[in-house]
Symmetry: C2
Subunit: 128 residues, 2 copies
DNA sequence: CTTTGACCTTCCCGTTACTGGAAGGTTTAT
DNA sequence: ATAAACCTTCCAGTAACGGGAAGGTCAAAG
């Protein structure tokens, strides 16, 4: 299967798939004309990647997950460790964003937002 | 004032301040020896930047905010518009991360995380 | 007076995970 | 025969810096 159809099948743009090949994550076969040729196994792997990425796993995480996926005898604890670490990172990020949101929401609410020049938002940014 | 002390004063690493000069946000004076020389006005501007960045405003947002800050007659509505848009972006990001967190938390909880090979996390990534 | 160490300068590369675009070859449909 | 729609590789750019090299400057200590 050519790259465009492969992309449609797994929900990734061709550019992204080429990139994944560049960095050594997938290695499709090549047809005689030089075109990439994706087998079912390749598509399966790409779909796995797409799902892991959509859950926010980094490419490096994905490498590890793929290795574990392909290892029939790995311990589920190894997989869980990666997921837990990622979960913790996400929670840290959420907390940071929630702090920002609270401060910003305060500022936005305190500002009249009309044609007059006095603006508590600027005041706050100015004076800390 | 030299760059390191300026950085200590406003809470930014020298590298970051040089970067801000590179992209045209601040333009400190230069001493005879070529060293950057930061005035109170420069420090004030850098502090403003640091605070806006810490609230997650992009550099481009900061450019706009700085222009408004320096315009005594700007309408507070213009400032508020930027802040509101940023607030909306943050809320979108939080929602996306919360989705991820929910899915991941489910996965992590469903996985025994022991030495056995069967792992619901991998299963889910595999089958969608 | 020299030396050491802490500054400072510019410049270039690396980061994340792609995306856009150019130049050119191949295949398919008209 | 030609045009559209693929495909290929390669190069460059994104956001916002950080690391590190090569070299100039300055203040204090010996």
């Amino acid at each position: 299967m050519n790259i465009k159809d492969a992309g449609l099948r797994v929900g990734l743009p061709p550019k992204t798939i080429r990139y994944y090949e560049d960095i050594g994550i997938v290695t499709p076969d090549r047809a005689d004309n030089g075109y990439r040729d994706f087998s079912d196994a390749h598509l399966h792997k790409l779909a796995f990647l797409a799902r892991a990425r959509s859950l926010g796993f980094s490419i490096d995480d994905c490498r590890d997950l793929l290795a574990l996926w392909e290892d029939q005898d790995r311990a589920s604890g190894d997989v869980r460790a990666i997921a837990k670490e990622h979960l913790a990172a996400i929670e840290t990020k959420i907390a940071g964003l929630q702090d920002m949101r609270a401060t910003l929401a305060d500022l936005v609410q305190s500002c009249a937002g009309d044609a007059r020049p006095d603006c508590p938002i600027i005041d706050k940014l100015q004076r800390g």
